[in-house]
Subunit: 341 residues, 2 copies
């Protein structure tokens, strides 16, 4: 393989909401595939709100992405050249390849071979990938969710939220979602089987609307939004309720001192509330079993997902920046090259 | 037994910091001891910051104490008349008797007979009572504290904090305390064996001082202060750190909307931090075993405690109100009648 390959890096560190101008393309020669290495072409690349946390300069807790370094992110790729004993040409892999056309690797790090072809390829970086695993382990390990409990999911039409709600239904929970706009809300009720959905764009008193949808209170809050949402729901938490801090899309672009604060913290004592976050790679040893169960559900049609696709490498920054304007409906994937036949 | 008995109730609901004027004495006839009942005279009554949460009117999450109802609180009492098969005259009990001279009861609720007389009676509502049990179960059950970890305790010279720090030392932790003033700090280092103590009254940059005392970060924050302290420490939490919400003395007097908020909530995801509160009566089945171990430590001199005593029923409101001005050094107990010989 010779020629060049393209990737996206940071032109400057992001301040506030990200804009496509924050990113810049680099074109570099394709390196030769040496012994023990393989080369894969990216088919699908994903954009995640969580990626935002590494894009600031100074005071982020996460390690900052250096200027020019390739933007991280999950991708599905096909091996097109291999001198690695475990990878053959034609192998399909899910990996953290980032925003680039080609991945040249020794196989160290996160590489999962995709062998179950019953589900669309993009599912492996969506409902069966990090968002889906976050939903699964957030509910099962972190929240220890149980039959008969009330689950409130925020950003419920997003890939994490929609999956969490449906897993909650399968666990026998009463599931309430918060989402924006009639299209998302209708999909959650009619397709994903949520018991109730609150449209935050249509409610003048969101707190009252959530309370009305959860008249007995909330056992598990699965939050993908951030502090303002958690603080709103804390007073509704039931005894021994759990708050799963899954994502903070509303706070990632805001400096710490300007973020809304959690104030209804009495409930941590009075109601023995537990709040805990997760980074799903801690659970990587459990991925295969969870994915196998979820792939069965997808194949039988009982686990729904929404994918929004963008066409072409050039669209990556635009697809990402729109996440912070609540534009996305389901998992956003960008197609960089064709799927194999 | 005939005559009258006195108790303290609320004259008005408390707004902000409590004042002795918020309380009023009621004098009522002593009821006859009927079959299945016993009567005890209160020897020691305690004042706890946590009692504040039920003293407001409207919007508290805890049930409000009605005007005139007896103020809750823990006490040590001696049975002076009994028609109950399990209680004999002369029995000593620890109970939630509240601020009153006599307790007339059927024995339902929290009544623990005091049989181990190796330790001072007041210990049973102090280092071996709710404060001590909060320390024990907060560290062992909630935090799952482990040898080699760093424990940061706030309000460290209070009865919960001082006990938590010493239990942490016995677990093999490195223990750092935050307390106010040279007397408390010296006691924590010289008597209670803390590894380091930060005097919040002497530090112009408390955050930097805590960071210097915990150079590798904090595994367990055992907080008795409230949101401002927790938010200050959150950025210092280590991977999989635990925040035990034990008490919120700085926030009890403040309306929710004026409380400091938790803003450094990124760490719940980036560092997988878990925050959880406790009400120690959830662990009541474990009290006896914990008390037995701790009484051994007290008897052998390896678990220290400080008690501040006030003399007489009249002093109850004053002893309580001073807690919110940081005046107390150790457990505050008010003596209502003499200890038995």
């Amino acid at each position: 393989m010779s020629g060049t390959t393209r990737s996206w890096g940071l032109r400057r560190h992001v301040d506030g909401a990200p804009s496509p101008d924050d990113f810049a393309v680099a074109e570099t020669p394709l390196q030769a595939v040496e012994d023990g290495m393989f080369l894969a072409r990216t088919i699908w690349a994903s954009v995640d709100p969580g990626m935002r946390s590494t894009l600031s300069g100074g005071d982020s807790y996460s390690a900052a992405t250096p200027l020019g370094a390739i933007i991280d992110g999950f991708s599905v790729a096909e091996v097109i050249e291999s001198r690695h004993p475990n990878y053959a040409v034609g192998d399909l892999i899910a990996t953290g390849g980032g925003w680039r056309e080609h991945v040249l690797s020794s196989g160290r790090g996160y590489f999962q071979k995709i062998v179950d072809r019953r589900v669309p390829l993009g599912c492996w970086i969506g409902v069966l990938g990090v968002p889906g695993m976050t939903a699964w382990f957030g509910l099962n390990r972190v929240a220890q969710a149980k039959e008969g409990e009330t689950l409130l999911v925020t950003s419920a039409a997003g890939p994490v939220g929609a999956t969490a709600g449906q897993i909650g239904k399968k666990l026998g929970m009463r599931v309430v979602g918060v989402a924006g706009g009639p299209r998302k809300c209708a999909w959650l009720k009619d397709e994903a089987g949520f018991d109730a959905v609150v449209d935050y764009k249509a409610e003048s008193d969101l707190t009252a609307a959530i309370r009305a949808a959860c008249p007995e209170g909330v056992d598990v809050l699965f939050d993908n939004v951030g502090n303002a949402m958690i603080d709103r729901v804390l007073p509704m938490m039931k005894l021994r309720g759990r708050v799963v801090v899954s994502g903070q899309v509303a706070d990632y672009n805001t400096p710490v001192e300007e973020r809304p604060g959690l104030r209804h913290t009495d409930v941590f004592i009075t109601h023995r509330v537990r709040m805990e976050g997760l980074v799903v790679f801690d659970d990587i040893r459990g991925f295969a079993a969870a994915q196998s169960q979820m792939a069965d559900w997808i194949a039988e049609g009982s686990l729904k997902f929404a994918i929004e696709t963008f066409d072409g490498f050039d669209k990556l920054p635009e697809a990402f920046c729109g996440l912070f304007r609540g534009e996305n409906f389901g998992r956003r994937l960008v197609q960089l090259s064709p799927e194999p036949a």
